[in-house]
Symmetry: none
DNA sequence: CATGAATGAGTTTTCATTCAT
DNA sequence: TATGAATGAAAACTCATTCAT
């Protein structure tokens, strides 16, 4: 009862704390490096060096580099979802809802261009490999979530219900693509929120005839 | 007098013809493979096998794989530009011009998802390498072209002149990103033109306050 | 307090020991193979196989094959220099000094024909490459060392001071060349020291009018 | 009787002339390139380009690159032999004969450092290959020739008869080695003949007790 | 014969992953 | 558990050689 294993959240041993710290640093530095140098160019040894741990440590946290990328992608999309979901709760008109969802995506990727980079690079993994499958599934899940949120609004705006997922795709890809290309071309980082909002709203308004 | 050497562009030797044929096949199959399996996973040997030539032949056409990718990117963007440029000639209202430019991009990438894939993957090359530099520059040039076309229209719609390039980025990335994510997720390929037009128009309309 | 970290040079970890062992074995086997088969024909994989380690291990010790060759050359010339230098300390007449320097070179290369082989092959590397530059510089440094030693003696024997380096070249190339050609032709390995000494002395005596 | 094939030396067809011209140019440029860049770095295509012929032409003259090198080596040693042999005809004292043979070698390699380079590089070919065998044999034959010439002289000077070949080796390797190392280190090219003679004579004089 | 386009065997080098300490 | 040394599969690229024109 008093042993560590007994209670999950109870005073993690200092060792456990250090371990989690290391994992966090690895995630952070890994994401940065992948965004800065590309997925292939970001070597495991670079990531561990940046995080200040030994190379072998990496593989005590994730079984493979692909698994690491998968978790990174999951973190990013989970984080993004946390900001999107509340929009579904407060009732607004259809147009505003869609516009807001787009705006949140745009702002998120503007602040975290690494997230946009990761999104794109993860989908560029070998189509054969399980890693690609996993990435696709994870993004798909995010899209489903967004689609579910905006289905009624879309319908009100005259968008075919069975095609709402493409609407979600439009929102996510617009935002992700803009800041992914933008990061490469050194554009977009300082685009004023006001203009981004206009871009976000553009989609929504455009739907209404 | 009637020999080949007489006229520069006349009757290329059958050998040259075969050679060009091979180059074209390599480009086609290369683009397909890169889109299907990812840039890194598309090995040179796969591309040559798909094109039905020996491995070494590849390197008689391009000095490196990166040079090949660069040329592919150039071909794609040149091809795309050929379809975009005419829009600048026929006079229309500002909103329609922007909407049309967006629509052409969307349709282009819908028909050629490989092009969208290439665009995204080329920018994911090692940030250090010259290949990445080249890709960035090429895309940048395309953006400049688009920006130049839509600058007046953007201004009329109240978009700051010095930020037109970001507008161009929005158009290109929306289209490219949509079909890049879409291809991975098996979405978008059959989205009706009508809906795509609406998405395209969305940006344009959204600009007007 | 008694741990390894306490003293810098004390008790290298057993892992480090094994590592150094491997490096030494690689150097030895590499030198042998290069002498036996030629620099180009001595594949890295052959060297590692001969040393009983994996192929990749090679590159954890030297970044390139060229760097390996450079170190080998340095080892050889450093080792040779260790035997030559003492001659400069004990005072003798000019003729004997030169003869002794020549004799040490001859004996050294007779006992280690691989060293002679390496010397010649390293200079045969692509003239364009940095590897060739490095090899040339290293040999040049050895020549300078020898030249400095024999400058006064040479002068006494009537050899122009500004051409002492060519004298050094004569000594080194005579010895190296003899056993390099000799090894290829299966000659020289059992030439009696007495005869070698005569050859060595020949240079010295010959200088005096 | 009147056909070309009938008489060997009679009026070679202009075609034959051009062919021989090409072969000569290939030999010359090949030797230069091998000396300048190293045997491995001197690509067949470089040689043909330098000679102003197509790549394929090379292989109508020699079946392999190795055969080309073998012929080059043969040409060089034959050329050298032509200058050495006359010394055996005019009677002189033993010391002078040996000294003269050495001097001829030294002068030859000073004027043609490419020849020295070729000599060394040819012996560095894969020990496994037939090319190496051939090179070794050819050099061996040259050594035998020299040895035969100086055997009596050597004996008179007190050099063991059964070791004359090593004496020949000393002469050839001294000269070849000096200018081979010298060419790499930019030394020796302008060493005055007088000093070279002294070096050459050194060997001879040194032999006498 | 001369040519240069095509070819693929062969080599270096990289890097995720394993595992003994 | 953390570490970094060892490993070998994999991939780009080179270049002598072949051969159709």
């Amino acid at each position: 009862m008093n042993t560590q294993a007994t209670m999950d959240q109870a005073t993690p041993s200092p060792r456990q704390l250090r371990r989690r710290q290391a994992a966090r640093r690895l995630s952070e530095e890994g994401l940065k490096l992948i965004a800065r140098q590309g997925l292939a160019a970001a070597k495991v040894v670079d990531i561990t060096a940046a995080a200040g741990v030994g190379k072998g440590t990496f593989f005590t946290h994730w079984p493979t580099k692909d698994a690491f990328v998968a978790e990174l992608l999951d973190q990013v999309l989970t984080d993004l979802a946390r900001r999107v979901r509340p929009l579904g709760l407060a009732p607004t008109d259809a147009e505003s809802l869609v516009a807001d969802v787009a705006a949140v995506h745009l702002r998120y990727f503007q602040l975290r261009p690494e997230a946009a980079a990761l999104l794109n690079q993860a989908l560029a993994l070998d189509s054969g490999g399980a890693a690609h499958q996993a990435a696709v599934q994870r993004v798909d899940a995010h899209l489903d979530m967004v689609a579910q949120m905006i289905t009624p609004a879309g319908e009100q705006l005259g968008w075919p219900r069975e095609r709402t997922k493409e609407l979600a795709l439009a929102i996510v890809s617009t935002a992700g693509g803009f800041f992914w290309l933008g990061a490469s071309l050194k554009l977009g980082a300082d685009t004023p929120l006001e203009l981004l909002d206009r871009l976000g709203r553009a989609l929504a308004r455009g739907l209404a005839r």
